[in-house]
């Protein structure tokens, strides 16, 4: 691991500080905004995200708090150019559309976008939530990502979802009519799922004609109900080889359908990629607000890793007191930034430019990446030979964690 320039010590979160320099508008850095809505009606057995079930949510209180935390960042940052907003969760389709509207309006006013702004909201396909689609569209949302998860009734029940296949199909159809861009998620490599069954299900999904699909293999995360069931021997995850087979099948089918993988688990018609997620993967800057949100943002020349409190009430209380819900913000060492950029970038089909890694790390590529391992991985067909970029092949993307362990010094 190389040691780049020194890192300033961690600073306590700095409160609003007016540093407006409108004349620098032309040089403003692009920025993405993530908003986390931490509530769900029920907790799904596979989910380890920061989601909570509460009997009652005071929408107005949450609106004020989210706006307050957004204001904190508006005050701290130099002028920026907003490229995307992503409202994730939890279940953001339980948010009052007025809250979404207010957040979009405030962010756009503070960080004027250059060109088209992408605003994505995650939604569940129950009829109640689909009923709000038009209101979200009116609020400024132009892209929905629907948590369909399966197009099979038994699988939906297994995954603990509240909707039916019919609900899902109706929601996707309605969304396509309301929003310019629509994506949905499916979870595959479920216990007992055969290649033929997945092929058929994926075929039905592609037939719905959305420009984007997120296709995740079921991952058993610690702390989830599925994890406990696996531990107890009641649930047997698909074997590694079968998972790999389904992954390869998925790549082939989506590519043939014109939605090739542009990231490990994300597939899009060219031009339909999620621009917000690309900011993460290209290691751009993003501000995260709401409980348990993460950010990577350069403040006063230092790239910070930020995270907010996960428990909703704790976050809320701190925002009320301090104007933000930050639990920690740490300056990232140059070498750490390069590691993160590599980790994220290799997930993309386009790979990661070595010059970018060198710039982040402040040291030559050979000190950052093991050249012998790189040659070996290229020879094995896991990295594509390219003098200027590190690019994982399809086979490589399937073994990314191992590639990273091998490459990084």
């Amino acid at each position: 691991m190389c040691t780049g320039p020194p890192v300033p010590a961690a600073a306590a979160p700095v409160l609003s500080r007016a540093r407006r320099r409108p004349h620098m508008r032309a040089m403003a850095e692009p920025l993405a905004l993530y908003v986390h809505w931490p509530f769900c009606r029920t907790k799904c057995p596979y989910c380890d995200f920061n989601s909570h079930v509460r009997p009652r949510i005071e929408q107005a209180l949450w609106r004020r708090a989210l706006l307050a935390e957004l204001e904190h960042w508006i005050g701290r940052l130099d002028p920026r150019r907003l490229v995307s907003i992503f409202v994730g969760g939890g279940t953001p389709s339980l948010m009052d559309p007025a809250t979404v509207e207010a957040l979009i309006a405030r962010a756009v006013a503070a960080w004027p976008p250059e060109g088209a702004l992408e605003v994505t909201l995650e939604a569940n396909p129950t009829s109640v939530e689909a009923g709000r689609f038009r209101a979200y569209r009116a609020a400024g949302v132009d892209r929905v990502s629907i948590g369909v998860q399966a197009l099979d009734e038994a699988a939906l029940r297994f995954l603990g979802r509240e909707h039916s296949v019919a609900d899902a199909l109706a929601a996707v159809e309605l969304a396509a009519a309301v929003f310019p861009r629509v994506s949905f998620d499916l979870i595959y490599a479920r216990p007992g799922q055969s290649a033929a069954a997945w092929e058929a299900e994926l075929g039905r999904a592609l037939a719905l004609g959305t420009g984007h699909l997120s296709l995740y293999e079921l991952t058993i995360e610690e702390g989830t109900r599925f994890h406990a069931e696996v531990e107890a021997g009641r649930l047997r995850p698909l074997a590694e080889d079968e998972q790999a087979l389904l992954f390869e099948l998925t790549d082939a089918i989506t590519a043939a359908a014109g939605l090739p993988a542009y990231e490990v688990s994300n597939h899009a018609r060219p031009g339909e990629e999620c621009r917000h997620n690309l900011v993460y993967w290209r290691y751009g800057e993003y501000v995260g607000i709401g409980p348990g949100a993460h950010g990577r943002v350069v403040v006063d020349g230092v790239r910070l890793a930020t995270r907010t409190h996960r428990p909703p009430e704790r976050w809320l209380a701190q925002v009320r007191e301090a104007g933000h819900g930050l639990e920690a913000e740490e300056p990232l060492a140059p070498s750490t930034q390069a590691v993160e950029a590599l980790m994220m970038g290799l997930r993309l089909r386009e790979g990661v430019p070595l010059a970018r890694l060198e710039a982040l790390a402040g040291c030559p590529r050979d000190e950052l990446v093991d050249a012998r391992q790189r040659a070996r991985l290229e020879e094995a067909g896991l990295l594509r030979p390219d003098p200027e970029r590190l690019i994982a092949t399809a086979a490589g993307r399937l073994r990314l964690d191992g590639i990273l362990r091998a490459l990084l010094r």
Binding site: E217, E240, V264, A380, R397, D401, A406, L408
Partner: protein, 598 residues
Amino acid sequence: MTELSRIRNFAIVAHIDHGKSTLADRLIEKCGGLDPREMTSQVLDSMDIERERGITIKAQTVRLRYTAKDGQDYVFNLIDTPGHVDFAYEVSRSLRACEGALLLVDATQGVEAQTLANAYQAIDADLEIVPVLNKIDLPAAEPERVKQQIEDIIGLDAKDALMISAKTGQGVDELLEAIVQRLPPPVGDREAPLQALVVDSWYDPYLGVVTLVRVKNGELKRGLKIRFMGTGAVHAIDRIGVFTPKPLQVDSLGPGEVGYITAGIKEIADARVGDTITDDRKPAPEPLPGFRPSQPVVFCGMYPTDAAEYDTLRDSLAKLRLNDSSFVFEPESSGALGLGFRCGFLGLLHLEIIQERLEREFGLDLVITAPSVVYRVHTTDGKVLELHNPSDYPDPTRIVKVEEPWIKATILVPDEFLGKVLELCQEKRGIQLELTYVGNRAMVVYRLPLNEVVFDFYDKLKSCTRGYASFDYQLDGYGESDLVKVDILVNGERVDSLSMIVHRSMAESRGRAVCEKLKDLIPRQMFQVAIQAAIGGRIIARETVKAFRKDVLAKCYGGDVTRKRKLLEKQKEGKKRMRQVGQVEIPQEAFLAALKMG
């Protein structure tokens, strides 16, 4: 100084757990060697490990005063001997310091293999032996049957065997009288040139080397210039004393007496067990018979788990050697294990004791390679190599013949398990020498290659007889064998520390077993891993660890890069504990498991 007729020097010989230390404690208590408040259980076993394992490693001695029924005061020197076969030479030296021995047999268990081995040693040393049956207070005691065993197996008259319970003290008074009546006093000549036997020596941080001696002839006095006849080293005595068991300084030690001296000796290698001390100015013409330097017979590599601990390991080994000159070590390096030491021991137990002390007293975490024995390799250029490490094995084309050490093993076993024991000995290339029945027990004597015994013989014997067999052995020379070196290759690279020398008939099964073990324990990697066992260039077993099919997190949650990075860092941290063989990472556990089998 005590008159010869009032001295009795004796040892207690017994199988492990037959109550030797408890009896010693009882004798010390009866003779007022310690106040009751000073009596901790098993006084003579001073090291933690000795107490915990119930075995004696170093010879200990205690001088006791006993007033007999005839009204006379007697001096008893109780010489406690190591009880394990690894220390057979030390036992024989201790016995040479005695005139008599109490053969202690557990009346509920009967004669065991170590009873036999130790009794034979006492007979060899010409000692007067008094059989003593212990634990007669227990309901399971069968004194008549055990007496019969002593007569049938050992050939001693057991008619007058003493019946005691070392635990309750029952019969101990009679035992003390019997020591006076039935054991002979020492003989010796105060006017003859000094001859004193070194029974043991150890390093004391305050006093330097303390030497335990038995005077045969002449007299040891403070200030005397003494010479160790084996090494020729000359020192002036600065302290003389006896253990009561507390050290008590005296002015001199005469014939028949047992005590300790210090003489400004820096290393115990200068005061070797079995050597003879004489007067430098008026030396004895001959040393006492039977001295030989102890020879390590089992070798293994010891490596620190964390390479940074190498210096600590070196210093710790040096410290342990201060007190135990019978183990040897020299630096060694291994491709997979890094820097470590090749260490030689008197036997497997000795190895375990040193390992345990290194881990316990010095806090070291060690990787130990499979134990091997010393092979004699005769090469085409007429040389004979003493091979301590399989990785030094010469090219087979340069070898004329290989000899390996053999042992004579004595096993006592209830007859229901005899079939299994014979099968095991046969499987281990044993040659049967004797098979006799005593009641419902069988005694078998086998000639076995030592390398089979250090492999897994003990464990197998224990499991196939449910722990009912007892086992003892003595070294029995070298013999030519059809031996080959089996290498373990990982992706074509030889893993030096896994090489083993085995009999040709077992090469394939042993090689395959190691390959299978490694296959199960090496996790999938980025590339396929081939594990092979080979004799020279010939592959005799092969296993494959398939490459990862999939090793990626499907979902990278939102912007939480930290979590993913931490995971990667943790994985990389785990990688540090891996042993690197070429491009392959072998987890420590896999290595240890393979070494255990090798």
